[in-house]
């Protein structure tokens, strides 16, 4: 919904909250349900009601628990029956500098005394996190701290031992250190947020005295948005691709008219510099695993001429797809999406032409669009939008672009074969299919939480739930990696089954869409049957739960030779397979023959 996309108007959101919520709930979209406990050191009602809107808009239907005012610590450390029975999927701890109880009090304190305060204050929070993880083993989002509005000692406050700002900055470092060492623990960076909106706008002491609001009401939507972005990222709802126009978006001028010498890119002019900075900025996204694509009304030859400009930071190789032609842009985006196996709604389209933006927005449901009015506005919008909010960085993220490039080479090779089986054999595929190894757990969790299409149950697992499954003696787990002569695709398939006497119930079966039609699912099935036989299991039950996105696997179990047991009106189905006479189905992938690197 437009009102909820960055940059949003906070005042409108606050004033029309009820009607916006009503509209969202009536829009017919299917949402995942999540239980969110908000433990606050200040009033949290408005934070929760704004967060609700943003989450609904991200496809998450939240149910909230709120601690009593300022009872965050008691709830976490001593527990509360309400919180226990609520059993949260995720916990947000909304504390601020107002909740720091051990701040330095006087310049007469020694550095050692200040250090004790710092350690004590950090222990106070850490104790809470440990207790929460022990009890709920779920992700925790924790605010860091904003700088104060008032200072006694001017600049000295930022660096003197007894400075409040200095103390807060040190606390923030301790929080970040903890976050880096603990999976499933995320910082909501209100130190950045309060800076970016400005401390004078962030703080509202009157609102604290009157209502125990720790931030000005007007900023609450910004705060709530920031938390909502972390949550949707944890549940795999990030965008994946930035699809870029060329003329006056990646460089100044029109390549078709101005020629390679005529476009502005590089250090010679101010305009050229701004485009260089923009390209460098975009390349930074690529390093985090965001894919880049081009969608431009141009002759392809000219498009490549522009990208091969000596000063162009982005080169043709940086893009997973380059569509430079005179077709409509929405069709080009759909095509890029099809070719890469991604959903068009995971694209962010950037164009300087507002008419193109409007068409794309109207034609492709749920796509995100950035109308570039200036390079700096576009960079700001991309930074603050949360499209690509990072909550973990896996090895896979760092190499994603190469993997998609390798896919393009495979497609090219396919054209030289008449027989698909011959093509598959020519790829020289090797798979490693194993139990969940610790080195892959992060990637397994990430893949599990973001795979929508090739996913029979679309069941999501938090990092800690995944760790539990990994330890469980009652589960069979498979993690499949696939490589071929064009490159290593990394972990691409995950299967989890629960054993019940001589039957295995499939709780999760998913595969990355970048390895569709390679028979990897057959290799996984062969391995699953093998594991089942080792445990004396003779029957496998498969479940398909229909979502708006997983139609491609509605008949997966049927294609494996399972028998349909039942099918609900809503499209869900149950399947079974007697494995006593099962014969291996994969004939094109070599399994567990080759050593895979574990880095």
């Amino acid at each position: 919904m437009k009102e909820l996309i960055f940059p949003f108007d906070a005042k409108t959101i606050l004033r029309r909250r009820r009607s916006i919520k009503k509209q969202l709930l009536a829009d017919g979209s299917v949402r995942i349900k999540k239980k969110i406990a908000v433990l606050g050191g200040s009033t949290t009602d408005d934070v929760v009601s704004a967060m609700e809107l943003f989450l609904l808009n991200f496809g998450i239907e939240p149910e909230f628990y709120q601690s009593e005012y300022n009872k965050f610590y008691e709830d976490a450390v001593f527990g509360s029956p309400e919180l226990d029975s609520f059993s949260p999927d995720i916990i947000y701890i909304h504390t601020t500098s107002r909740n720091l109880t051990m701040l330095p009090e006087s310049p007469s304190e020694t550095p050692e005394q200040i250090q004790e305060r710092l350690d004590g204050q950090f222990e106070y929070f850490k104790n809470m996190w440990i207790k929460l993880v022990e009890k709920f083993s779920c992700p925790i989002i924790q605010n860091n701290f904003e700088l104060p509005l008032f200072r006694h000692s001017g600049n000295y406050d930022g660096w003197g031992w007894c400075g409040i700002s200095a103390f807060i900055n040190r606390m923030n470092v301790l929080f970040s250190d903890y976050a880096r060492k603990n999976n499933g623990f995320y910082i909501n960076d209100i130190n950045y947020l309060s800076s970016v909106v400005g401390l004078t706008k962030w703080h509202d002491p009157d609102a604290w005295f009157l209502y125990k609001y720790a931030v000005r009401a007007e900023v609450i939507p910004e705060l709530a948005y920031s938390v909502a972005c972390i949550i949707k990222s944890v549940y795999g709802k990030n965008q994946k691709v930035i699809d870029l126009d060329l003329d006056n978006t990646l460089w100044g001028g029109v390549i078709g008219d101005d020629g390679q010498e005529g476009i502005e890119i590089g250090v010679e002019t101010a305009v050229g510099q701004s485009y260089s900075e923009f390209q460098t900025f975009l390349k930074g996204y690529k390093n985090y695993g965001v894919l880049l694509a081009v969608c431009s009304k141009n002759d392809e030859e000219n498009a490549l001429l522009g990208l091969n400009h000596p000063s162009s930071v982005l080169k043709p190789d940086d893009f997973i797809s380059i569509k430079a032609n005179w077709d409509s842009k929405d069709r080009n985006i759909e095509q890029s999406a099809n070719e890469t196996g991604l959903l068009a709604e995971s694209f962010v389209f950037v164009d300087d032409n507002p008419a193109e933006c409007a068409i794309v927005e109207a034609q492709i449901p749920n796509i995100s669009v950035v109308n570039l009015t200036s390079v700096s506005d576009a960079m700001y919008q991309l930074s603050r939008s949360g499209f690509f909010e990072v909550t973990s960085v896996s090895k896979d993220d760092l190499h994603r672009s190469e993997m998609y490039a390798a896919n393009a080479k495979r497609t090219a090779q396919l054209k030289s074969f008449d027989n698909y089986q011959d093509y598959l054999l020519s790829l020289d595929m090797n798979a490693q299919i194993t139990d969940f190894l610790p080195v892959y757990l992060q990637r397994i969790t990430q893949l599990t939480n973001k795979s929508n299409q090739f996913n029979v149950t679309t069941r999501r697992y938090s990092g800690s739930e995944m760790e539990e499954v990994t330890k469980s003696p009652d589960h069979i787990r498979l993690c499949g990696q696939l490589s071929d002569k064009f490159g290593d695709n990394g972990v691409v398939s995950v299967v989890i089954g629960r054993c019940e006497e001589k039957t295995l119930h499939i709780e999760l079966w998913l595969m990355s869409c970048r390895v569709l039609k390679r028979d990897m699912e057959l290799a996984m099935l062969d391995e699953l049957v093998k594991k089942c036989r080792e445990r004396g299991i003779d029957k496998i039950i498969g479940y398909y739960y229909k979502t708006p996105k997983n139609n491609m696997v509605s008949e997966l179990f049927g294609s494996f030779g399972f028998t349909l047991e039942s099918r609900d009106e809503n499209g869900d189905s149950v399947w079974s397979l007697d494995i006593t006479s099962y014969e291996n189905k994969n004939h094109v992938i070599k399994v567990n023959k080759k050593e895979f690197s574990h880095e």
Binding site: K11, R16, R17, R18, S19, D46, L210, A217
Partner: protein, 80 residues
């Protein structure tokens, strides 16, 4: 600013906040007259009224207002 104009604009604010187009307010209206007007919505309402009239209530005023009439009196003095 005259009272009628203030009431007209205030009515819009109330209707947005409580998402109820049937709300009619008078100087005598209090929180008891509107179902959803609890302490939390009160904070929201105050904020939205402040935005609408480009002014801030003083702390004493926020905690002291007894009905919409008193709110109108304050707005008529400082509102824009």
């Amino acid at each position: 600013m005259n009272k009628n104009e203030i009431i007209k604009r205030l009515t819009e604010v109330f209707r947005d906040i409580f998402d109820d187009d049937s709300i009619v307010i008078t100087e005598k209206t209090t929180a008891n007259d509107i179902d959803d007007w609890d302490s939390i919505e009160h904070i929201n309402l105050i904020g939205a009224v402040e935005d609408e009239f480009g002014m801030r209530f003083k702390m004493r005023e926020v905690s002291g207002m007894k009905n919409v009439g008193e709110m109108i009196d304050i707005i008529s003095k400082r509102g824009k």
